[in-house]
Amino acid sequence: MVKQLSVFVENEVGSLAKVTRVLRENNISIRAIASFDSPEFGILRLMVDKTGEAKRVLTENGFIVKLTDVVAIELVDKPGELDRVMWILADARLEINYIYSFVLRGQSEPLMLMNLDRMEEAEKVLMENGVMVTEKLTQE
């Protein structure tokens, strides 16, 4: 499992910009980002290059930040790859809470990040089925 940042943001103009400004000013690079539409408030999920530092500077700037676990998997870039992974999890009756993908370009293979209720079990079953599960994505 890897650590992502969960940042509380309000559903209003400029709320994401306030987060990205703090990261820019501290020279922190975003590797992946996800936010979903919700009526009043949002949880912005981020994978950055310097996770611990990002949490510290965001907290100093008044944000509510939590480090949470996600499972990171490397996929082969060809049609049907994600489908294969989804079926592994479905067959194991493992429920995905949310999933988003990595934006890092230089990397050869796509990366997916997902959060589940039973993450260790998910990692185990994925590895057993030959899916590449990554443990270290960011420098600490």
């Binding site: 969960s6 940042v7 509380f8 943001v9 309000e10 709320s15 919700s38 009043e40 408030f41 949880i43 008044g62 944000f63 509510i64 930040v65 939590k66 949470t68 809470n97």
Partner: protein, 439 residues
């Protein structure tokens, strides 16, 4: 119809009744209620110092805090065994305001509410539907007894389930409605949605409104929904002063007639406590002249109004109070329920996941008051999922509901985003229309 002869007596006759009752009442309170005696002793006053009505202004005030300090029965002048009814209303913090009535008090209360009903045009021929919530709130049972005493047929339908209320209204041939004005408007709209034309399919011609102020725009709305010939009056009271029955509008709509043989009104400067002349705006202070179980001397209502003593076109000579134009404290009336921001604050402070700052917004949407409260999220462990955040909002809402008896929308906001105040905080924004004046 004017119910009681005291409503048309001369000023001299009224003052004679008032002085005799005031002397008796002050003596009674002094002898029977320790907190009154000690307040008077502190002011170096004895009952025999009350020689004229002008001496009333020397007596100490009674305030809502006295109820809390002497909770539950400390202000009672008789053993609880002699009470035949107990009511309570929400207090500023924690403890409710408890009031008790002797048999004699019940008769006087009923008498004054009967007058209020008659003021609003009710007669013994009316079929009255009471849509106030029955329970510890004095409104429902107060109007219930008064209307029964008048001879009307009373249907205690209580609050809620608007469709069913309207079914009763149609099938019973209800002619008189008792409700908060906003609920009456809501009912009219629901009726239309159900395909009923309130003016043709229903027989309601009289509305006796209370529990919250009725603004002039609301009254105009009332005519639009219920018909131009609808008699929409409001009345005023509070549980500390029996409940409804203190005053009510007559059909001239020129202020609310105060039943002066039972209540002496004064208007004071809320800052200094000084009594203001008739016609000047200030806080209403009421002395009850006939309450035996729970005497009330110079009770500060915190409501802002003016008093007029000119006889009314309706034939009554009793003093009239202008429709309320605000409060000298921060109490909110939401759907007829009294809410103090401090009550909300207490609930919020007990929830560690949110911060101590808050912002309350009160609006009127589709004629119903809605309250939304913004609170700051301070606990990062809630960020695991949306479900968790929603559960937190639900918990805040549930805790507030159990204390206030009211639903509020909870909005979680980021920490540090709500306004901070130095000095007096302004945490409440009331977007409902300002109260209009009648005359």
């Amino acid at each position: 119809m004017i119910w009681a002869k005291e409503e048309t007596c001369t000023r001299a006759e009224m003052e004679e009744i008032q002085l005799a009752r005031l002397k008796e009442q002050v003596t009674w309170a002094y002898e029977k209620v320790a907190p009154y005696r000690s307040k008077m002793e502190e002011a170096r006053l004895r009952p025999e110092h009350i020689k004229s009505l002008a001496d009333l202004k020397n007596l100490p005030f009674t305030v809502k805090k006295d109820f809390r300090d002497h909770y539950p029965y400390g202000l009672f002048a008789v053993p609880v065994d002699d009470m035949v009814r107990i009511h309570a209303s929400s207090g500023t913090t924690g403890k409710p305001t408890v009031v008790g009535y002797t048999k004699e008090d019940m008769a006087n209360w009923t008498e004054t509410v009967t007058r209020v009903a008659a003021l609003g045009g009710a007669t013994s021929h009316d079929i009255a539907q009471i849509c106030f919530g029955y329970g510890m709130f004095t409104g429902a049972l107060g109007l219930h007894y008064g209307l029964e005493n008048l001879g009307a047929a009373v249907a205690p339908t209580s609050s809620g389930n608007t469709e069913k209320q309207l079914m009763y209204m149609k099938d019973f041939g209800t002619t008189l409605l008792v409700a908060t004005p906003s609920y009456a408007l809501h009912m009219g709209e629901v009726a239309r949605k159900m395909g009923l034309d309130p003016q043709k399919d229903l027989k309601v011609k009289i509305g006796l409104f209370g529990g919250e102020g009725m603004t002039e725009p609301m009254r105009q709305e009332m005519y639009k929904l219920w018909g131009d010939d609808f008699k929409a009056t409001q009345n005023y009271g509070m549980s500390e002063l029996n409940g409804p029955g203190l005053s009510g509008e007559c059909l001239e709509l020129c202020g609310m007639h105060i039943h002066e043989d039972h209540f002496i009104p004064e208007v004071i400067n809320p800052e200094t406590g000084e009594v203001l002349p008739a016609g000047e705006k200030g806080e209403l202070v009421i002395t009850c002249l006939t309450k035996k179980g729970l005497p009330m001397i110079r009770y500060r209502t915190r409501d802002i109004t003016r008093l007029f003593y000119e006889p009314c076109k309706c034939g009554r000579t009793t003093c009239r109070m202008e429709n309320l134009s605000g409060r000298s404290d921060d109490m909110l009336i939401i759907r007829g329920v009294n809410v103090f921001p401090t009550q909300i604050e207490e609930v919020l402070l007990r929830i560690p996941e949110i911060g101590p700052h808050y912002e309350i917004i009160v609006e009127r949407i589709n004629h119903l008051d809605t309250m939304s409260i913004k609170v700051e999220l301070v606990d990062e462990s809630q960020l695991e999922s949306y479900g968790q955040l929603n559960d937190l909002a639900k918990k805040v809402r549930g805790n507030l509901k159990s204390v206030l008896g009211l639903d509020a929308d909870i909005k979680l906001v980021a920490p540090g985003t709500l306004k901070r105040f130095e000095g007096k905080a302004k945490r409440v924004t009331d977007l409902r229309k300002e109260l209009g004046l009648n005359c």
